[in-house]
């Protein structure tokens, strides 16, 4: 046991020394202060993120990070969402066949009283907070192409609302209002499909019209003359970025709520269902 700990310590000290030495020999590109400029690649992004002078070479969004996340490197983000999706599916697979539905009906009468959840002050405040949180999170998500924020940021902020209701009241409170596993899974799938279809929209256009087009294309390119309109009624919507943000907002909010509903399934129920299960 002690040998193992000593081994861990020694290797960690080596790691620290290596990383420090690497940093002090400017392996991160700079030492001791950051670079005085940005790397060339970054200047490409900064220069072309919203540059109407080069209509074939811009993402049409003032927000360079969102532009990179959804346009320049959209593939990463699709699969980042896929990782989150697969994590939720993995959790669902661990919880397969277990649902709160039966408990929710038996708890119909017992949980509305003053005995459960936090105090009445917290409950009243949570009721008032819910629409405010949704308003703020929607603002964060829908302005993702203009100001910091975006689908994930907004969606995770929106998930505070059901989470607070879950913690302050109880999970049965949510279930009685129709926020249960299946609607949340549907919401999540709808969001993911929105992302997916937006990513492929231009390719379909290209296939129909017979011109070249790329997967994840947003604005027209030199060799791919179709794109999603960047302006709608003279308002900047940055083409696909708005659609991506909206879809991701729904998907993330649904996903988080789903995770927390799954986490709040009582242990007795799970144990009673898992015990005596057949396996290979």
């Amino acid at each position: 046991m002690n040998v193992k700990k000593a081994l861990i310590l020694v290797s960690l000290i080596i790691l620290v020394l290596t990383l420090s030495a690497a940093f002090t020999s400017s392996a991160l590109g700079h030492y001791p202060l950051p670079l005085s400029g940005v790397r060339w690649l970054a200047s490409w992004y900064l220069y072309t993120t919203l540059n109407p002078q080069y209509p074939k070479f811009t993402a049409m969004s003032p927000e360079a990070v969102t532009a990179i996340v959804w346009d320049y490197r959209g593939l990463d983000t699709l699969f980042e969402t896929a990782v989150f999706f697969l994590a939720i599916v993995g959790a669902l697979a661990l919880m397969r066949g277990i649902s709160l539905k039966s408990l929710a009906e038996s708890n119909e009468t017992t949980t509305e009283g003053a005995g459960s959840g936090l105090s009445l002050i917290s409950k009243t405040a949570a009721k008032l907070l819910t629409p405010l949180i949704i308003a703020v999170s929607a603002s964060i998500a829908l302005h993702g192409h203009l100001t910091p924020g975006g689908g994930f940021q907004g969606g995770s902020a929106a998930a505070v609302a059901p989470l607070l209701l879950l913690v302050i009241f109880s999970v049965y409170f949510l279930l009685r209002r129709g926020i249960s596993e299946k609607p949340m899974l549907t919401l999540r799938t709808a969001g993911l499909l929105g992302i997916y279809l937006t990513a492929l929209a231009v390719v379909f256009t290209g296939l129909v019209t017979g011109v070249n087009a790329y997967v994840f294309q947003n604005q027209p390119k030199f060799d791919a003359p179709v794109g999603i309109p960047a302006y709608l009624f003279n308002t900047l919507v940055s083409g696909s970025l708005f659609l991506f943000n909206l879809s991701e907002y729904l998907a993330v909010a649904g996903g988080f709520t789903l995770v927390f509903i799954l986490l709040s399934i009582p242990e007795e129920l799970v144990m009673s269902l898992i015990r005596g299960e057949e396996h290979e």
């Binding site: 960690l12 994590a87 986490l263």
Partner: protein
């Protein structure tokens, strides 16, 4: 004040490197799975801070700070873009870290569900007591 700035920035970077080591120690040496998960989140967060620090830039002038990589106008002129290029920080590490944070979150969530399942089957989360497998 350049020496002070340098010193402070290096304190920051070296703290992050030390954080990496401490959280790795937590992952490998602490016995409880929950503690390992906490340490894992700290570890991936530290990696993210390091990545963002790579994209930072020195102050263009003493008065003028670097700005986030977001244009604050929707109809930029050429001079807007030039000054944006001269002051904005690197957006690429930020986009990468955004992806990495969400991925880390997904993995952590899944590990939490697995830990719960381990507890259901073994009635403990201490890895020293979970020893059906010999490795």
């Amino acid at each position: 004040m350049s020496e002070v700035d340098t010193f402070m920035f290096n304190v920051f970077i070296f703290s992050m490197i030390l954080n990496t080591a401490i959280s790795l120690y937590g992952i490998f040496a602490r016995p409880t799975l929950i503690k390992k998960i906490i340490a894992l989140t700290i570890f991936s967060d530290t990696a993210n801070v390091l990545a963002i620090a790579v994209g930072y830039r020195a102050w263009p002038t003493v008065e003028r700070s670097p700005i986030p990589p977001v244009l604050t106008t929707s109809e930029p002129t050429a001079s807007d873009l030039t000054s944006f290029l001269q002051t904005a920080v690197d957006p690429l590490p930020q986009a990468l870290v955004l992806t990495a944070i969400v991925i880390g979150l997904a993995v952590t969530l899944f590990l939490v569900f697995l830990t719960l399942q381990v507890y259901r089957l073994y009635r403990t989360t201490d890895v020293r007591k979970i020893s059906r497998l010999r490795g």
